[in-house]
Symmetry: C2
Subunit: 589 residues, 2 copies
């Protein structure tokens, strides 16, 4: 092995207080240039960039080699730190330079196909193909380090709280529930398959039955879904479970964790406890079970406002008469900002949510302008405006349809408009809990009742009697943690009673035979004494993305797949030898 | 959700100093018995067992419920700690009992199919099927916690040393190198497959090219091999890599880590630096590249001893004339312990290593008894015995054959005999490095040269000139860490030069086309400036097993597979729907 210069500092660390020190650095040449008999090299490692200077006092042989340096050459430098004549305020190390006395060349480099600069706007697929170059960007290394830091603080905290990190298996049983599984053919058991886990849910419940008491794992999970919307085939969960707890215990533990996390990695003190909204309240006020509370624009229900309740305006009338809702939001000061054309665009934007139109009302200094002037008198508009406390200059937008459509449309709209108005402050972190989710929802396609979370969620004790009579009104001991309108995690208290679990399967239309085939081992385990237990899981990728202020989870993963689930660095997936398939007792179709 | 007693203590924590305290406990009924109007319940959680006592002062309703308790019922207890009348010295909590005032029953339990006791010797498959019951054993929970502790200390240490934990992908490219891959059919890319990683080797090298500088990961790895010898389809590595380092840097970092690990989890101070043996020395002295140095019995070469060199004894003669070796070990005081019959058994035991026989020589008070008295005079036996410094009562065992057979046989034999003689002290931890491995070895089947570690290992600088002339004599910058005769980990300095890497592929008979197809992305990456780098990986399962004093890695994993690679808890692998296969563009053969 060739000689290695033993590093004394990282490039990004050097400051004025290092002046006079002899240092050894290793890194990549970010830039080399010659100026007035001197050679300047910007040397980069993961911590930053520092300027290296060669003058004619170094041996000619070294000077010549310094002159031959090109971008991305890998070198080691010995030298002395000194104050820089012309300071560079854009670099943290910009007050100093390293006056080289020796240099070693570890490796040459061809011209890279992408620029190693944070603001390089290379095509995504090019960035993924040359990920090892993309990762040299300071921002990408910062993101990897930040992710590491979050994982570390997470493990520290839960370790202190008596949690045990347990590795659950990656080769598990396929259950045709939920998302699509990735399958792994078994060679030893021909014709049979493992699945890669969508979550460690069943195993963590078994750990509770096994007495592990407090479990945590930062676990790889897999879903073979279409990769729209910044999803990845493999993703990472912070997964945990606790025995002998109720919802308050689980929530309290998480608040302690998140407080610590924000303090340690963000240097931000957040207040606990976080606000709790029931699912019902979240929908009514924000039109969403992931409310963003950094701004107002809360939804108001207009069904019972006399002007609306008695209206002959057909759009409202039809909605009300078919059991739907009329709800609106008030954009303070929005009247000036949104022209008629803008409102048309907003109307377009809510169409994917099912809304066929929006009613708008502008509160003016004197009276109103609105899309429904023909149908409502000024007094009636007063009545509506009063619900919102609307003042002159405000814009009211109203949707009327089935409740779900109204909620989804307005829920989207308020955040969309807040974004347009610049109200989404990246440095503000509003955490809240949404609790008391409905236990079930109606599958719109099949009309069947399905579990809103998963079939192991415990119904609220007081709602259990309704399981038989009115299951859609049963609420669950389920909770989501929401940050700025994004679901960061969620969990529930689980059923630990075999009979109640069997009843849930029955309500979900899962036959006894099917439930035994799929989850028999869990029901069997419950026979032998299961403790009450509950837990929660965070999406780590999304959490890191949110806290790092990034907009794609790909920027917080080392080697993500592209939109076609391919790893462009290593060119996976690929074709394999026929012999391999033969050994696995499978063939291609 | 039903009421939960909020725990104040764990069962195993209570001691005399808690006497008088009101406590709340949750756990499983380990035993219930009635004695003289009192009910005694042994309550168990993961920390241990404590005695709960009910007398008639509790409400009758509670007393009755306590009376109905059976094994593995899950309960909560409120009560007062008091000194126990008849202390139980076998329990850490045996000085106290908890005098119950209230009780809650969380769940009943059927009679479990295995005993929840550390010394339950249930059949392995039964233990795996009811793993959630097996895990209730205190020993199993202790093992899980111990494993957690090792992982935690590992992460703490390397975090302090500036390492970043980076998650490398689980869905990777299949390379028909090394062991058999687990394959994952791609739905989005029909006819193509991912592999599950056998190790993060290539990705960690790419991270170094990407400037990550110091990488660690506790990573799941997969090998579809036959499961003899306590292997598992999925296993866990502590995997790391460093840039700008030589072998001494990597080794020094590990010694710091292992010192810290032994201190923190074993409460043992180990001395650093560890001894380093070259591979050659390890073979010559111990007949193994994983020497156990807790005892003597070192190998001695007899080829050049006059009595042997000139012998007409055909067994030795043939070995020497065909380029083989005559080597032996001396078992101090072994003569009495091993009868003629015992030696016959030892001769049987080395047959799997290729040895066709063993020569034995007993040093007596006066002269020798041996299996070769006919061929060697007493003076000649003196000459042989002198090599070992044999004294009266010692037993010399000699093998002669090809060097590999001699090393393997004697290497096995010395440890086997040490085991029989009770010399393998579980509380002694002899750590050492084996370095300077041969770069290549000859594949006995094909006669081709193959890599001893892997094709990315850097040859020793001074041996590079021999790559062309005498590759089998080239040594590698590779190192294994050995604990008590078991390889706990290993690594190497990697090649970071594209041309040298290409040359290695050439020597290994990998065509340019093949190397580009398999490892092209690594060669491509090396084009753009790769730093010198090296690393190491530990087998975590084996490490935990060794330090926990267990004899199977299954006892330090939560949900291991059985010998047929099945998960008996969840019954994986299993058959899947035809539709699932169709979506994946595969069918069964």
């Amino acid at each position: 092995m060739s000689e290695i210069f033993k590093r004394t500092h990282m490039c990004g660390e050097l400051r004025m207080e290092n002046a006079g020190e002899t240092v050894v650095l290793n890194g990549w040449v970010s830039r080399q240039r010659r100026l007035g008999g001197l050679i300047f090299v910007d040397l980069r490692d993961k911590t930053g960039i520092v300027q290296i200077t060669f003058d004619e006092s170094v041996p000619k042989e070294i000077f010549d080699r310094a002159q031959a340096l090109r971008g991305e050459y890998v070198i080691g430098i010995k030298g002395t730190v000194r104050e820089r004549a012309s300071r560079n305020p854009e670099l943290p190390t910009g007050d100093v330079e390293v006056f080289a006395s020796d240099m070693i060349l570890y490796a040459e480099a061809a011209t890279p196909p992408i620029y190693i600069r944070d603001d390089d706007n290379a095509d995504d697929n090019l960035r993924l193909k040359y990920r090892y170059l993309d990762l040299r960007k300071l921002k990408m290394q910062r993101n990897l380090t930040f992710r590491h830091r979050i994982a570390k603080v997470t493990r520290d905290y839960f370790d202190e709280q008596g949690f045990t990190e347990v590795e659950t298996p990656m080769l598990v049983r396929s259950t045709p529930e939920g998302a699509r599984d990735y399958l792994v053919p078994s060679r030893v058991n021909p014709g049979q398959f493992y699945a890669l886990p969508q979550s460690p849910q069943l195993f963590k419940q078994l750990l509770m039955v096994g007495g592990t008491d407090r479990y945590i794992q930062i676990a790889k999970c897999f879903r073979d879904e279409d990769l729209r919307a910044d999803r990845q085939p493999e993703f990472t969960q912070i997964d945990m479970e606790m025995s002998f707890v109720d919802m308050d215990d689980v929530i309290g533990m998480q608040e302690g964790y998140l407080k610590r996390l924000f303090r340690d990695v963000m240097d931000i003190e957040i207040e606990t406890p976080f606000p709790r909204l029931t699912w019902q309240e979240a929908m009514e006020r924000y039109g969403s079970d992931k409310p963003d509370t950094r701004f107002g624009f809360e939804l108001k229900k207009l069904n019972d406002v006399k002007a609306v309740a008695e209206t002959e305006f057909m759009v409202f009338r039809n909605a009300l008469d078919s059991g739907g809702d009329v709800r609106g939001i008030c954009i303070e000061g929005g009247s000036k900002q949104f022209s008629r054309k803008d409102i048309d665009k907003l109307t377009e934007a809510v169409k994917p949510y099912g809304a066929r139109g929006l009613v708008w009302i502008r509160r003016e200094e004197n009276g109103y302008k609105s899309s429904v002037n023909k149908f409502f008198s000024e007094e009636q508009l007063d009545e509506i405006a009063a619900v919102f406390g609307a003042a002159a200059g405000d814009l009211i937008l109203i949707a009327s349809d089935r409740p779900k459509v109204v909620f989804d449309s307005l829920g989207f709209l308020r955040r969309h408009i807040a974004g347009m108005m610049g109200l989404l402050d990246d440095r503000q972190f509003n955490l809240l809990w949404v609790v008391d989710f409905p236990m079930f929802e109606k599958d719109e396609e099949t009309g069947r009742v399905k579990a809103m979370h998963h079939p192991f969620t415990h119904p609220k004790a007081e709602d259990i009697p309704m399981l038989d009579t009115d299951p859609l009104r049963v609420r669950a001991d389920a909770y989501d943690i929401v940050l700025n309108g994004v679901e960061m995690g969620g969990g529930s208290i689980r059923i630990h009673d075999r009979k109640l679990q069997a009843k849930m399967f029955e309500i979900l239309g899962i036959s006894e035979e099917e439930s035994i085939q799929k989850f028999g081992f869990l029901l069997e385990a419950f026979k032998y004494g299961a403790p009450p237990h509950g837990g929660l899981a965070y999406g780590l990728d999304r959490m890191v993305m949110l806290l790092a202020g990034e907009h794609s989870i790909r920027d917080v993963m080392a080697f993500p797949k592209n939109q076609n689930a391919q790893c462009l660095v290593s060119d996976a997936p690929n074709t394999v030898d026929e012999e391999q398939l033969e050994e696995l007792s499978i063939r291609l179709r």
